[in-house]
């Protein structure tokens, strides 16, 4: 037998480590996380507790007036507040229409790119630009496009010989202008997710389906849709949660007008809290919206069986 020689370069340290070393190895994770945890606690815990307490109180704008406990009074007010009901309806309409359009356009574009224009990467990048622009800049851009006197859209209408419109200032068109801007901004997000989903699909089942006699249409419904279901669910969930909180576009384009035609929940809460300075009522609405969103997401995730 030949004797095993110790490797002269790769030596293993001996001993069991000092007590400090062992303590450090065990607790390093906690030490590194501590600053973030403290910051998060300060930034979310405090406002949450503040909201929970304010929701059951009457909070005066005057800091010298003591808060008054009103129980479920703020919540009862919500039942008979017509402006709130309009805001809820607007938010639901916006969410359903905008997310549906974004989904159909995003999926369609992704299918097109996946099948026919795989190599044109620069086109893909251009399509993703709207999503990368800060939302405020998007809103301001669309405000200029919609501007009735010198906006691009009315100029276009004029050249086509069509009557100019007030757009965001028109009761009947205002919601559509918000939806159009949101679709422009967020379709790329769906597009990106779908494209990634499509790229990860296995090719063999499609070949099997072709031989089994399935048309392209059948392959789409029988294979692509079920395969993409988890990605579709995530994309819809993120978009719906985001749409329910819509604020920036409305705030810049219409400030909820005209005549409350585009007032969304977030904007209404903002108005109640900072224009009417009714903090207690605003907190109560926020709380309900929070629970509604969490409830919806939980149901949706269960429904789509995303857990497995």
């Amino acid at each position: 037998m030949r004797e095993r020689m110790a490797d002269p370069i790769l030596t293993v340290p001996t001993g069991s480590g000092t007590a400090f070393e062992r303590w450090r190895e065990r607790h390093l994770r906690i030490l590194m996380l501590a600053p973030t945890l403290l910051l998060l606690a300060g930034l979310t815990l405090f406002p949450t507790v503040y909201m929970l307490t304010a929701a059951v109180q009457n909070v005066s704008p005057d800091p010298d007036v003591p808060r008054e406990f009103v129980g479920l009074g703020n919540f009862a007010r919500m039942l008979t507040d017509p402006e709130l009901h309009v805001a809820v309806r607007n938010t639901v309409v916006f969410t359903v229409v905008a997310v549906t359009l974004e989904f159909l356009l995003g999926l369609g574009l992704a299918l097109l790119f996946d099948k026919y224009i795989r190599r044109l990467n620069f086109l893909k990048t251009i399509l993703l630009v709207p999503m990368m622009i800060p939302p405020i800049a998007v809103a301001l851009t669309w405000k200029l496009i919609y501007q009735p006197q010198f906006g691009v859209l009315n100029e276009l209408m004029f050249r086509l010989g069509l009557p100019s419109q007030a757009w965001a200032g028109d009761v009947n068109l205002a919601m559509a202008t918000i939806i159009a801007a949101d679709v422009w901004e967020w379709t790329p997000f769906i597009f990106l997710l779908m494209l990634a989903g499509l790229a990860s699909l296995p090719s063999e089942p499609y070949e099997a389906a072709q031989v089994d006699g399935a048309s392209a249409w059948r392959q789409f419904w029988d294979l692509t849709v079920p395969f993409l279901k988890p990605v579709i669910a995530i994309a819809l969930l993120l978009r719906i949660m985001d749409a329910l909180r819509l604020f920036d576009l409305v705030f810049i384009l219409t400030v909820g007008g005209p005549a409350g035609a585009t007032e969304t929940l977030s904007l209404y809460i903002f108005k109640v809290a900072f224009t009417f300075v009714d903090i207690g009522y605003a907190a109560a609405i926020s709380l309900v919206v929070l629970f509604a969103t969490v409830g919806f997401s939980t149901w949706f995730i269960k429904r789509m069986r995303l857990a497995d």
Binding site: Q210, D212, G213, F227
Partner: protein
């Protein structure tokens, strides 16, 4: 039922030619195996029949129908993929039934066929399971069931047994052979495993670099290899191929002389002899062809494989299971001279004598 004909078929991928001027007629009800190493074009050839690849030029016929431009769904072929290609989100039942669903088969007939096929491949107790809940062998049987649930004109099988363990492979091989006999459907079977080819095929087409090296029954391919490639590819352990020179019917190489090849002369020759046609003899015997040291001794159970050192290469022979030799021991070797093959090393073709 159907025959499949390839006429001057060429398949190119960019500048790479995967299949060259391919001509082959597969008869009705025949079990034809395309055999060759990976990259020889055998799978591409089969995929052209399925319609998953398009021939660059040439014609492919099923019976009298030219199918080059026929969509896969109208070709009426069924295929078993190497990776099985099951529909991962569908149950066993729905996987098997998918071709029927596409063809809008009425519910009673649908049920009847699935039950019948599932029983045949012994999956009748797991119809509700998903593919991920099955073992490799069970998945393979689902893929098979999906192919036989309808009666296509042609079966295409792309290495269907390669992902199974050795024992299951042997068992499924027998089942496939029986099934094909029973269903009487023309079958094209792709494999790189020469034992599968030998056991399953009516005829084997041995492919190499996109061309057919030899077409024949398994027996013809084994007993009468026409090229060096076929000689080396068929048989396990492989045929011994020893380079040397043939002068007036006598092959000579370092330490080895074998006569009996008529009066041929080949300046650069290769001698081919199968391990079972080489025998161990006493090193002192006068008529041994070779005396060489033993390199290794491997007992397989039914025989002992003995490798000898011959120049810089090994020569393998199949000895009796009770053969007891030691490594480095020098033994004599006798070669059955009427069972040798001679190849021209330049053309790589057999030289008859």
């Amino acid at each position: 039922m159907a025959s499949v004909t390839f006429r001057d078929v060429v398949k190119k991928f960019g500048s790479f030619t995967a299949v060259h001027d391919f001509n082959l007629e597969i008869r009705d009800k025949e079990f034809l195996v395309l055999l060759g190493p990976s990259g020889c074009g055998k799978t591409t050839t089969m995929r052209m029949v399925a319609g998953l690849e398009e021939a660059t030029s040439g014609d492919i016929y099923i019976d009298a129908d030219r199918i080059n431009d026929v969509l896969p769904k109208y070709r009426d072929v069924a295929m078993v993929f190497q990776s099985y290609a099951l529909y991962p989100h569908l149950s066993v039942e729905d996987n098997i039934g998918y071709p029927l669903k596409i063809r809008k088969v009425p519910p009673e007939e649908y049920k009847r066929r699935i039950t019948e096929v599932a029983r045949r491949v012994e999956l009748d107790t797991m119809l509700k399971r998903l593919p991920k809940e099955l073992s490799g062998g069970q998945r393979q049987r689902v893929a098979l069931a999906r192919a036989i649930v309808r009666t296509p004109r042609v079966f295409l099988m792309d290495e269907p047994l390669s992902n199974l363990d050795a024992k299951l492979r042997t068992q499924m091989r027998a089942e496939l052979k029986h099934l094909q006999h029973e269903l009487q459907v023309t079958t094209i079977y792709v494999t790189h495993d020469q034992i599968e080819a030998m056991t399953l095929a009516h005829r084997v087409a041995v492919m190499n670099r996109g061309v057919i090296e030899q077409l024949g029954t398994p027996r013809e391919i084994y007993n009468d290899p026409r090229t060096l490639f076929v000689a080396g590819f068929i048989g396990s352990p492989a045929m011994n191929l020893i380079p040397g020179e043939v002068k007036d019917g006598v092959f000579a190489s370092a330490g080895l002389r074998v006569g009996g090849a008529g009066h041929v002369s080949i300046p650069r020759a290769v001698l081919g002899v199968r391990p079972e046609d080489v025998h161990v003899a006493n090193a002192e015997d006068q008529d041994v062809n070779l005396v060489a040291p033993i390199y290794s001794v491997e007992l397989t159970g039914e025989n002992t494989l003995v490798s000898l050192q011959l120049g810089g290469r090994l020569m393998t022979l199949r000895a009796d299971k009770n053969f007891a030799g030691q490594i480095d021991q020098r033994v004599g070797v006798k070669i059955e001279t009427d069972r040798i093959f001679l190849f021209d090393a330049e053309t790589e073709r057999r030289v008859d004598f």
